[in-house]
Symmetry: C2
Subunit: 255 residues, 2 copies
């Protein structure tokens, strides 16, 4: 099978003009087929503030009421996504910006209300990667916004890490998939005070060991759990890396 590299970048990098430029340049250096998945939370927060709409977050997840849904649809699907697409086109990559609604790529269910009502937030149900895979083989570079749809006409706000992971699993039917999660550090660190203490490789065994030792903690735990699950679902390799290293292959490898 041909190789496909999926890169997930967080909000901060893609929301500032200079860092976005550098990122897109680095991304363009990745050989072969590629997909970019982006966030955009900071811009959404800023626009919401300017519109006088309260930003409510629980455990880093945005509570998405009807007004907030409009904002993330605008910001993720419009502002951030189309700036990336135009930027990649200027570098000679034939990018196409997509939400989960476009080509019915990602169907999700509105998250059921348990302790917290997250509002218009989607849990991914199904990824239809066939037609996007054909486009990729034609040289097209999909740029995925963190939005899905419920098939009943509603857009749903969906975590970008989740989209990257679910997309990687679905594309694994058509490609040898390598998924790169961009991170503010050079990888998963064994010592959080030493930026160079990058753990080179993690598997299920090492993961459990590091968690029990407290070396891996906080938000990195669900990130790695998702990564390991994706590996079990057919993704060849996952790399947690600094944005400036996406074209070098350096970082923490999960296999």
């Amino acid at each position: 099978m041909e190789e496909l590299t999926i890169v997930k970048v967080g909000g901060k990098i893609v929301e500032e003009e200079e860092s976005l430029k550098q990122l897109l340049k680095d991304f363009s250096f990745i050989e072969g087929h590629k997909v970019l998945v982006h966030g955009g939370g900071r811009s959404a927060t800023r626009i919401a503030e300017r519109l006088g709409i309260e930003n409510r977050m629980v455990d880093g997840r945005r509570i998405t009421d009807r007004e907030t849904l409009k904002i993330v649809t605008m910001v993720y699907g419009g502002l951030v996504n189309k700036n990336i697409v135009a930027g990649l086109q200027s570098l000679g990559l034939n990018a196409i910006g997509l939400t989960g609604a476009d080509l019915n790529i990602i169907l999700s269910d509105k998250r059921p209300v348990k302790n917290i009502d997250y509002g218009y937030v989607g849990d991914v149900k199904q990824v239809n990667a066939e037609l996007p895979s054909e486009l990729i083989r034609r040289g097209v570079v999909p740029v995925l916004a963190p939005l899905t749809h419920d098939g009943k006409g509603n857009i749903l706000n969906t975590n970008a890490d989740t989209i990257a992971g679910e997309a990687a699993k679905a594309f694994a039917r058509y490609f040898d998939v390598r998924l790169i999660y961009c991170f503010e550090k050079k990888g998963v660190l064994s010592n959080e005070n030493d930026d160079d203490s990058v753990i080179p490789e993690i598997d299920t065994c090492l993961f459990e060991q590091y968690v029990s030792q407290g070396i891996i903690n906080g938000g990195m735990i669900p990130k790695l759990e998702n990564a390991l699950e994706a590996i079990r679902s057919g993704v060849k390799e996952i790399i947690i890396s600094h944005a400036s290293e996406i074209h070098t292959g350096r970082g923490t490898k999960i296999r």
Copy 2:
């Protein structure tokens, strides 16, 4: 050649939930291949007002400074476009939302400053319809937002009527194209006080006659000039029609 119907709808219809629902239903009744081109000016104006950004219009065209460009990118490319895509998906149409930057479909030049500096406004230079045509043949329904790009990384605000006309001409290489412009009246009226005085058919000759008689005037003149030019460029038929008639074929036909 297979037939393709391109429908251009203005802002008002697609920006209100109920009228959008009805429009998408009517659109879904159109047989065969189809493309939807939309506006979104009213939403852009409203969001700009709420953000405290001044709306400046000259002859119905928006002066697009840097801040306004962000708004139209958000509103046209995100909010309006993705709501339409999700709505069409719920009706079983495999829609894909596109700006001119996506797949490099529409390249434009920033409008040169003469008497007025329109800012980040694009004049269409080139339409690349080949890959979109393949998608259409695969059953995909493109939804085009009134945004283009300059190939240097910049999105440009572009008139939706122009996008519809230029797209129609480019798709005419691959399909027998019928272009429907939705209008608040049932067509071009011979008596503006009589909503039923729809002129059934207009050609170049009749157009000049009606203009000289003052029957056709104002904003309808450039609309029809563009339409006649599109016919000369290979578009089979252009219909100016009420939104509720897009699936019936009624209205003023330009041939």
